[in-house]
């Protein structure tokens, strides 16, 4: 079957790159939960799509039967899998593409830099950055809140943490989109930019080895692997790659979705403008409702789960966004409740791969939305029909015209 034919039945032939699904996945999940909560497809490859919270939670705990070796929702193209590098290092973006034990020690290298206390010192820089971005367009009375604002914030923070020149940010953003968005349907583009990112870090890591500083790359280089040896430079490069790939599209999407929501729902916007104490629940509700990230696992041994039999090589789509809209786990899940008190969402995943950058992402969202709301409390999405969304792997608005 052609991979891009219209979907006949979502239960047996789902397509997460379908345009209608990207615009509105919610009704698809709702339909599936009622009749086939774990859907299947043979498009591109055999894959399962859970739509219930408990099932996504259960799958996130099935390690190592469900491996993270190829964690993007569309498998690495054959041409990538055939390279010597892939044969030796796999998808090589530790820890997201690793299983224990490699996942454990590479993750532990990251965690201390991403605790709530460790990210707090970046707050002031983020505030200054957001204000500068707003200075750039506030006089004109209109902006593309995705391209001119949300998109600009995460790559600069990552650049700062990696100790890389800020002027790289537009390149970073395009490289990541080429891998995670445009590249899902265009294997050649995905391959090309996978290599571009790695070559950039190959050069940067070599240079940093001679001139260490107080940045993440220098910390990786100073650390040792479990055998006490310096870390294989290719693994360091893979970890740097992940900082870009995991930290940019994701956070930008969450900030953009929040602004889309506030620019389309005046009553929520007015409530938030009037009451700063709503921010903690509002941020978690943005994360739940607009969960940007879907991941995947690959089955390594036969797994029987409920009525489903999964075989080695099958993919399992980690549908965190779908889990977050399950009525068995959330009261009125299709309602955005800015003051939702009980919100056990899994927008940052669950289990051992819980987003290592979640505290940084939350801080960026908090500052980006607060700063916008302080300077531009009254705004609206001006041309709703022209808003474009990306989805599949990372869902969020890519063009978001607003007036104020």
């Amino acid at each position: 079957m052609a991979d891009t034919q219209p979907v006949n039945d979502w239960a047996t032939d789902f397509d997460i790159l379908d345009e209608g699904y990207i615009a509105d996945p919610f009704t698809v999940w709702e339909d599936l939960r009622g009749r086939c909560p774990i859907a299947h497809t043979e498009r591109r490859e055999s894959a399962f799509l859970p739509t219930k919270y408990d099932d996504v939670q259960a799958f996130s705990k099935m390690v190592p039967e469900l491996s993270s070796a190829d964690p993007l929702v569309i498998a690495a193209p054959e041409a990538i899998q055939q390279t010597e590098h892939f044969k030796k290092y796999g998808a090589n973006s530790p820890p997201i593409s690793s299983d224990p034990p490699e996942q454990v020690w590479t993750r532990r290298l990251l965690l201390p830099h991403f605790t709530p206390k460790a990210v707090e010192p970046h707050r002031q820089y983020t505030e200054e950055l957001c204000n500068e971005l707003i200075d750039g367009f506030i006089e004109t009375g209109e902006a593309d809140a995705a391209g001119q604002y949300a998109q600009q914030i995460p790559p600069r923070l990552i650049a700062k943490m990696l100790g890389v020149d800020e002027s790289m940010t537009d390149d970073f953003t395009y490289w990541v989109r080429a891998v995670l968005e445009l590249g899902l349907a265009d294997p050649e583009l995905r391959m090309k930019y996978r290599d571009v990112i790695r070559q950039f870090f190959r050069d940067t890591v070599a240079e940093r080895r001679d001139n260490p500083g107080d940045d993440l790359i220098s910390h990786f280089l100073a650390a040792t692997d479990p055998d006490g040896n310096p870390i294989d430079p290719e693994i360091v490069i893979g970890m740097c790659n992940l900082q870009l790939v995991a930290g940019i599209d994701t956070t930008w999407s969450s900030i953009g979705s929040a602004l889309w929501h506030l620019g389309s729902n005046p009553s929520d916007r007015q409530r938030l403008a009037a009451d700063e104490s709503l921010y903690p629940t509002a941020l978690e509700e943005f994360l739940r409702f607009y969960s940007p990230v879907t991941m995947a696992r690959v089955v390594t041994e036969n797994v029987d789960y409920n009525d489903v039999s999964m075989c080695p090589g099958d993919k399992v789509i980690m549908n965190f966004p779908g889990a977050n809209h399950d009525p068995d786990a959330f009261e009125n899940p299709h309602e955005f409740q800015i003051d939702r008190k009980v919100n056990r969402h899994v927008a940052f995943g669950a289990g051992i791969h819980r987003c290592a950058g979640s505290n940084l992402a939350r801080m960026e969202m908090d500052v980006a939305i607060k700063t916008w709301m302080k300077r531009i409390p009254e705004f609206e999405v001006s041309k709703p029909d022209e808003v474009t969304w990306a989805g599949g792997q990372v869902r969020g608005p890519r063009y978001l015209p607003v007036t104020f």
Partner: protein
């Protein structure tokens, strides 16, 4: 307020905790996190003062790993 019959305790099951840090944001008076983002109780015996019981429950209800256990003894 109702008479308190039992002391409420909060425990973090560190085997389950994956460091989402939701609990730390909701109840920093009761919970702290270590360098790896793993949560632990500020009061070694896990005791929760009466005025923080609601916060303790909120922390438990928002933990995506079901790692926080509230008990009365």
């Amino acid at each position: 307020m109702m008479e308190r019959s039992a002391a409420v305790k909060l425990r973090v099951d560190q085997e389950k905790c994956q460091g989402h840090n939701r609990c730390y944001m909701l109840a920093p008076e009761l919970i702290d996190v270590d360098d790896m983002g793993t949560a632990f109780e500020r009061n070694e015996d896990g005791s929760v003062p009466a005025e923080l019981e609601e916060k303790a429950q909120l922390a438990a209800d928002n933990c995506p790993e079901f790692a926080i256990v509230i008990s009365e003894d």
